[in-house]
Symmetry: C2
Subunit: 252 residues, 2 copies
DNA sequence: AGGCGCAGTTGATCCAGGTCAGGAACCGAC
DNA sequence: GTCGGTTCCTGACCTGGATCAACTGCGCCT
């Protein structure tokens, strides 16, 4: 709905998840495990590097792809933050997910062959673009890569099922914060001090709550001493406490 | 929670989606497209047949796999109906999906490497069991099969996102019925006269509603002349009308 | 400085759907 | 047949979270 006005890149933001080198590639990239773990040689790694296209910077509010665009590629986030948003015929938006550095956007477009959502950057962001026909052809020659793609899809499926569960507002918010922290930690960032680069409205929409509810729950969690929150800067003070609240959303 | 007592197979139920022949294979199987569409020869088809294992019958209430079982295989439904159910630590159940003949169960286990849910038959059912290591090895040699697996995963992802959307109870029920009809039609069954083999409680749980709400909405839809419903036998009287109610859930 | 606009918070009210409580219909068991 | 169990439906009430309405604080413009 909103047409976010461009805003200039913020030098403080956006730690870059790789060293920028073409050869060493993103060390935390979603696909790195496919090669490294399986012990692939330089030649295979080079295949991956040839088909990847480094794109960016995108400034906050720019679109990577839009609903109904034909599906051509998947995008690994190199730096920055992206949300995917589906819009129904009445114009209601639904945030489907937030994607951190090292994560992959666009997998839900494989089946419909068109992107079923918009992908919008929330901060200045850089991507690796993988042509899907090319990467799936390569996957046929690299079992580790095929396996990795299966795993990414299956993981995304698990995330969607969590979101689909019916959980109380507080559980949802606690799970959201815990999950963000863990995903950041998995990418080598701090898992306890983090910046919520998305607006409260986006968070609320993603959690299928009203923005007011999210706001109230944040203050409640703060009053309980579980988190410290100032604007968009969040610190998780009591990870186990928060995890306990989120327990039903996350464990099964 | 409930331990459903076994019940004897009902000869009326469970139209079988294939001719039972080992060689001709399930004509409506989720994987048939992978071979036929891509023009594969008999040799490749035979590879698929060798790795598949026909299992069943399972009677209503039996488990195909359970939460935490190590992930070994995916299962294509040959006949009958299955639900998948996740249980959280407090014992709350969440139905994740219903699977009709021709559809595939177990894809959400790839990433965690353990099944994240139980799969329970709701009527007498037969399956094709595909060892996952074997089918993904074959997929590396059969791009059409690899593509098909990607598509299945991506499709399932889309379904989960629909379920995760926040929609009014009536929209959810209308979408559920419409979707069931379309999926049955896709498998060659009637898309307008169908049997809800799952209980109202299961439907409600799947839609994240109370059973009472589902019941009330069914009667409302009947009063509006959109459906005819007697027990578990449903007829969709006004498909476009129902689709209109479901519009926001399904279109994007 | 002042003023505008947007993001976020807080309080007051409302309502969709959940919960609770009966009751009817339909089994299968004996 | 009757009994007990189960599923489904319906009515009466309750509540979590949505909605509506201020209000605050901040960044940006002129």
């Amino acid at each position: 709905m909103q047409t976010p006005r461009p805003q200039r890149p913020d030098p403080r933001a956006n730690p870059i998840a790789d060293d920028g080198s073409e050869v060493r590639f993103c060390s935390t990239c979603a696909f790195s495990g496919a090669c490294v773990a399986a012990g692939y040689d330089k030649a295979h790694l080079r295949d991956l590097h040839v088909l990847v296209e480094h794109i960016g910077p995108f400034r906050a509010g720019e679109h990577i792809f839009r609903t109904h665009d034909p599906f051509r590629a998947i995008y690994a986030v190199r730096a920055g933050l992206v949300k995917t948003v589906a819009v129904d015929p009445e114009g209601n938006e639904q945030v489907l997910g937030f994607y951190l550095p090292g994560e992959v956007v666009g997998l839900n477009a494989i089946y419909p062959e068109h992107y079923p959502c918009d992908a919008v950057t929330l901060e200045t962001a850089y991507f690796c673009r993988f042509s899907f026909p090319a990467i799936s052809a390569l996957a046929a020659r690299m079992p580790g890569l095929q396996q990795q793609l299966f795993r990414l899809l299956s993981k995304e499926l698990g995330m969607a099922s969590l979101l689909a569960g019916d959980h109380a507002a507080e559980e949802r918010v606690a799970a959201f914060v815990t999950d963000l922290g863990e995903r950041l930690a998995a990418q080598g960032f701090s898992g306890t001090r983090l910046r919520l680069s998305m607006s409260r409205v986006d968070i609320a929409n993603y959690l299928r709550l009203a923005a007011e509810t999210v706001s109230r729950i944040f203050t409640r969690l703060r009053d309980q001493g579980l988190i410290a929150l100032e604007g968009r800067d969040l610190e998780i003070l009591d990870p186990p406490g928060l995890r306990a609240l989120a327990r039903n959303v996350r464990e099964r």
